[in-house]
Structures are given as structure tokens and as C-alpha cells.
């Protein structure tokens, strides 16, 4: 895909954590990144690590930095990350306190290639809402946002968005069922659309298949296990119709028609 890429300053830089609030089951972490570029593109990501006590968690990890889409970038240099704690790296980041140091490399990868807002359908599953937040800010209220969550406490994440349609697995908030049902209805109601999606692999695969059946263009922000985030290790590859591609340099956003499947072996979610 020919998505946009804002280049990163070379090397890991240290910045200060300025906030860490809970949003339902998730954390919203604010970082004052004075030395980073002011204009990352939605879908790009940063490699993050805590300055202190990075290591010595469960299984004596983390050792490597962890990849996170930025959720919002503010004019004063504040970056916000929307995070779900699922292991030693995310556990440590979730416990960061204001004033602590955080290492950043980024922005990295290529972002979504946004088309006309009136045709945009943003589809997120769980923590996959993260990169859709800045994308919906950029596209404005004309773009439709559909989000799926596991439960009511997860669905509180939808509160970060101005206007959304929500589905929950248990029906506690919004529609009962998967967000892909909301997408199917939107697509079947007609009107031209481009779909931008991020979420767990089974959801992304369902979105990809729905769009492929209807010839609707779709851009998928994928995940894979990463060590470096800038093309150095060749560890983050995903299979595509053109062979393996490094998700960190040639993604994480890929066009649906580049993929036979959106299911990535070993992805974090």
C-alpha cells in the first residue's frame, strides 16, 4: 500500500509521562514528546519502553520495546497511547506514573491512506480502536465509526470517540454480537465506502472477507510480534499475496487485496 509515512528522528529518545488514566478496561497514557515530529500519520506506531525497571516482570521480561499505535497527537507535542495490559511489557507501561521516563522510537511504518470522509467506515475491535481515534479526528464527523468490545467495561473505550455505534459480545452495551454485523448492515445499505479496520486477527479476517465479497476497498492495520520496529530484524513478517512482508516497514496498514488472510501467526491479540 502507498500509505503516508512521517519519518522518525534517528534513535531512541527519552520523554516524560504526563498522564495515565484508566478508560474502562484500558489505559490512556500521555507522553510529552517534545523531540518528535508533530505530524505522525494515523496508523503509524511507536516502539515504547519504560526508562526504569524495563525487565524483571513475569518471566523476567520485558526486554524488547513494544509497538503501539498512537491514538492522538496534540499540538503541544503530547502523544497519547491507548493500551490494554496483556503481558509483562504492557503491564509495566500500564503502571507508568506521571514524571517517569519513557523511551520512544517513532513514528514508524506507514499509516492509513485516507480518502473522502463521507465514504469512510472505521471498524475497530477492542484495543484496535486506538489508531481509529486519530483517524476519526482527522476525517471528522462524516466518517462512521463502528466498534466492538467484549463487555461493558471494555466498551467504555468508545467514550473517547464523538459518535460511534457499539456492539458487545454479551449485549451489555449497544448491539449484542460482533462489530462485523454492524459493518455488514452498513455495506448492504449501499453507498460507496472505504473501510479502515484494526482489531484482533479473527475480526480483521471477517472484515477483509466481507469487503472482498462486495469489492469494497479496505485498509487493515495488522499486528505481529516485533523486536525492532524499523526493519532491522525481519521478525515481524506476515504472509501476503506477494510473499512475506515486514509489517513494521511495509505496514502495519495493508490493503485487504494484498492479503489472502488477515490471520497472522503469533500476533499479540
Amino acid at each position: 500500500m502507498n500509505g503516508p509515512r512521517t519519518q522518525a528522528p534517528f534513535g531512541r529518545r527519552m520523554a516524560e509521562v504526563t498522564g495515565n488514566e484508566s478508560v474502562g478496561a484500558y489505559r490512556l497514557i500521555s507522553v510529552l514528546d517534545s523531540d518528535g515530529p508533530p505530524d505522525p500519520r494515523p496508523g503509524q506506531f511507536y516502539m515504547l519502553s519504560a526508562r526504569d525497571c524495563w525487565g524483571g516482570g513475569a518471566d523476567e521480561r520485558p526486554y524488547l520495546p513494544r509497538a503501539f499505535s498512537y491514538a492522538r497527537a496534540h499540538e503541544d507535542g503530547t502523544l497519547q497511547f491507548f493500551l490494554e495490559a496483556i503481558g509483562p511489557g504492557t503491564d509495566r507501561l500500564a503502571r507508568l506514573e506521571p514524571g517517569e521516563g519513557i523511551g520512544l522510537v517513532g513514528p514508524l511504518g506507514i499509516g492509513f491512506d485516507p480518502g473522502p470522509a463521507g465514504e469512510a467506515l472505521l471498524v475497530g475491535g477492542g484495543i484496535g480502536a486506538a489508531p481509529l481515534l486519530c483517524l476519526s479526528d482527522e476525517l471528522g464527523p462524516e466518517a462512521r465509526v463502528l466498534l466492538g468490545f467484549r463487555s461493558a467495561v471494555h466498551a467504555l473505550g468508545a467514550g473517547l470517540f464523538a459518535e460511534v455505534q457499539v456492539a458487545t459480545d454479551d449485549g451489555s452495551v449497544g448491539r449484542r454480537g460482533f462489530v462485523t454485523e454492524l459493518l455488514r448492515e452498513q455495506l448492504d445499505a449501499g453507498g460507496r465506502a472505504t473501510v479502515y479496520a484494526c482489531g484482533p486477527p479473527p475480526m480483521l479476517e471477517a472484515v477483509r472477507a466481507l469487503c472482498a465479497e462486495r469489492d469494497v476497498p479496505v485498509q487493515l492495520a495488522l499486528e505481529s510480534g516485533m523486536a525492532c520496529g524499523y526493519g532491522a530484524c525481519f521478525g515481524c513478517v506476515v504472509p501476503t499475496r506477494n510473499g512475506y512482508v515486514r509489517l513494521c516497514v511495509d505496514g502495519p496498514v495493508l490493503a485487504g487485496d494484498e492479503l489472502e488472510t488477515a490471520v497472522v501467526p503469533g500476533a499479540p491479540h
Binding site: 519519518q7 523511551g103 524499523y230 521478525g235 515481524c236 513478517v237 512475506y244 503469533g266
Partner: protein, 303 residues
């Protein structure tokens, strides 16, 4: 802090480990500032093979305490693709270039070395011997005789320095290093990754797509230091030390153990500019500590 390796002048003693930094991809991510702030004093390419390779199926990475196990599987464009597409771009780097090659037979190795040596962009050639010779079945770099036969075949093909990269998965890496030296190698580098594996959580199946992989990072540093000290004692040619180097202190230790230069690998994954930081820390150590013994010192053999 200038240095010299096999007659090639370097601005310092810090290299990258083959396969741990892709200068072409890094230029996409960071732009041309990469050239101004290039983190290494000599750039070593990812290992190339005669035929293009896709590499191993994912997942390819498993994080361990203080390190990782990888099963990347040497993805590369193959000799022709490398020469046509990558080498001209690597030639734009501000430091000398070493190309790493791996052949699955001595004929393949000869083809690689002859073709790479012809190119002006290339100053040195590293021979990655961590793979089986498909004709004999032995891991080339695990066996002194096999190593000697390969280096003897390659030596007449070029006057450019040949570096033999040793595998730590050998009974006696010192004996392999001696065989390489006697067959005409100009330097040896070590260590490559140590064979390792991990099981996927909650299953009894391997996590890595290839089943097993290689361990790197600070977890292997003590093993690497011992092997570098041993090999440096046994050969007269320069050794390039690596394995878990993350600070200037680590680099100084490898130099004290007898290495003529050091390489940074996995630490670059945590910080792309790690090579620059390590160089600055090392320079301060060399300046401040008068008791430090540089590699050329005869006292290094005391280790």
C-alpha cells in the same frame, strides 16, 4: 578513536552484527539523517545466498529473559538481486562495507565470493559458516576440516579480506578458528547465535515457525566473552567479538579479551542508535581508565 581491521581503516571499532541492521529499511524509517549519524564504523550486510530466500514461516521471534530467540531463516533477494538492487544503496553509506555470504556447497560459496569481490563497493567479505554443507551434511563452521576445505577453496578467488564467522554451536570453536587461520582467513568473528527453542504458551508445540532458532542478546554475553578470549588466545589473526554487547563497558570487556573490533546486534533492536552510544561510552572508558589494555597489548594473553 580510529581503528584498523585487516588493512581497512575505520573511524572506530564498532560494527553491526550481520542481520541485525538493515541500512536500506532504516533509511526509509529515519531518512538521510541516518547517513549523518550512522551508528557503525563498518557496515556488515545481512547474509546473502545464491538463490533468493523467503525465510522461515512466522512466528520468528521469542523474547527470553535478557534476549531473544529468532528463526528468521536468512530471507534475502539472492546474489543477483542483491548486486543489482541493494549493493548500490549500501555503497552510499559513509563507512566501509562488508558483505556476508552463505553457501550450501563449496561451489555456491565460490560463486558468491567471486561475484561479491568484483564489486568496488565491497571492502571485506564475511563467510557465515553456520549452515550445513548439503553435500556432506556437516555444519561447515562446526568442523575444523570442513572449514579449512572451504577457506582453501575461496582464498585464491580474491585479495579482499575474508572473515570467517564462527558458530558457537561447535565442540571447539578455537580449533575451527585455527583451521580458518591456517587456510588463509584474515579474521574471525564470533559469536553467532546459540541454538535455542521455546514452546508456545499452553501447548506442547514449538512457538517458532521453524521449530528452533538462535539465542542472542545479553543472555549470551558471558558465553561470548569466554569464546572470544579463548579464540583470541589461539589465533594470530584479528577477532571480531560480539554477543550481547549493550554498553561501552561490554565493548571494553570484549576488547580486553582480545577482540580487535566488536559488533552490536540485538541491542540495536532496542535502540537503533545503540552503536553510537556504545562508541561514546567506550571512548570515555578508554580515555579515563589508564589501566585498560587495548587489544594489541601482549598482556591480553593473560586472560
Amino acid at each position: 578513536m580510529s581503528a584498523e581491521l585487516c588493512g581497512v581503516e575505520l573511524r572506530g571499532p564498532i560494527l553491526n552484527g550481520s542481520g541485525t541492521f538493515d541500512a536500506i529499511a532504516a533509511r526509509k524509517a529515519f531518512g538521510d539523517v541516518l547517513l549523518d549519524e550512522f551508528p557503525f564504523d563498518l557496515f556488515v550486510s545481512k547474509t546473502i545466498t545464491v538463490a533468493p530466500r523467503q525465510g522461515n514461516p512466522p512466528p520468528r521471534l521469542w523474547e527470553t529473559p535478557a534476549g531473544l530467540v529468532n528463526s528468521i531463516g536468512l530471507p534475502n533477494k539472492g546474489l543477483r538481486g542483491f548486486l543489482a538492487e541493494d549493493l548500490p544503496q549500501l555503497g552510499e553509506l559513509p563507512v566501509p562495507l562488508c558483505v556476508s555470504v552463505m553457501g550450501f556447497s563449496r561451489d555456491e560459496l565460490a560463486e558468491l565470493v567471486a561475484a561479491v569481490a568484483e564489486r568496488d563497493e565491497v571492502e571485506l567479505i564475511e563467510l557465515n559458516f553456520s549452515c550445513p554443507n548439503v553435500e556432506t551434511g556437516t555444519i561447515m563452521g562446526a568442523d575444523p576440516a570442513e572449514t579449512a576445505l572451504s577457506v582453501e577453496r575461496l582464498r585464491p578467488l580474491t585479495r579482499k579480506p575474508l572473515i570467517v564467522k564462527l558458530t558457537p554451536n561447535a565442540t571447539d570453536p578455537g580449533a575451527v578458528a585455527e583451521a580458518a587461520e591456517n587456510a588463509g582467513a584474515d579474521a574471525v568473528s564470533l559469536i553467532n547465535t546459540l541454538r535455542g527453542m521455546a514452546l508456545a504458551p499452553g501447548t506442547n508445540r514449538p512457538w517458532l515457525g521453524a521449530g528452533t532458532g538462535g539465542q542472542s542478546g545479553p543472555a549470551v554475553r558471558a558465553i561470548a566473552l569466554a569464546q572470544v578470549a579463548e579464540v583470541s588466545r589461539r589465533v594470530g589473526i584479528p577477532t571480531i567479538g560480539m554477543g550481547g554487547i549493550a554498553t561501552g563497558r561490554d565493548a571494553a570487556d570484549f576488547l580486553a579479551a582480545g577482540a580487535a573490533a566488536v559488533a552490536v546486534g540485538t541491542e540495536s533492536f532496542r535502540d537503533p542508535a545503540a552503536g553510537r552510544r556504545i562508541a561514546a561510552e567506550l571512548e570515555a572508558i578508554l580515555r579515563d581508565e589508564r589501566g585498560f589494555l587495548p587489544a594489541a597489548s601482549s598482556e591480553r594473553t593473560a586472560l
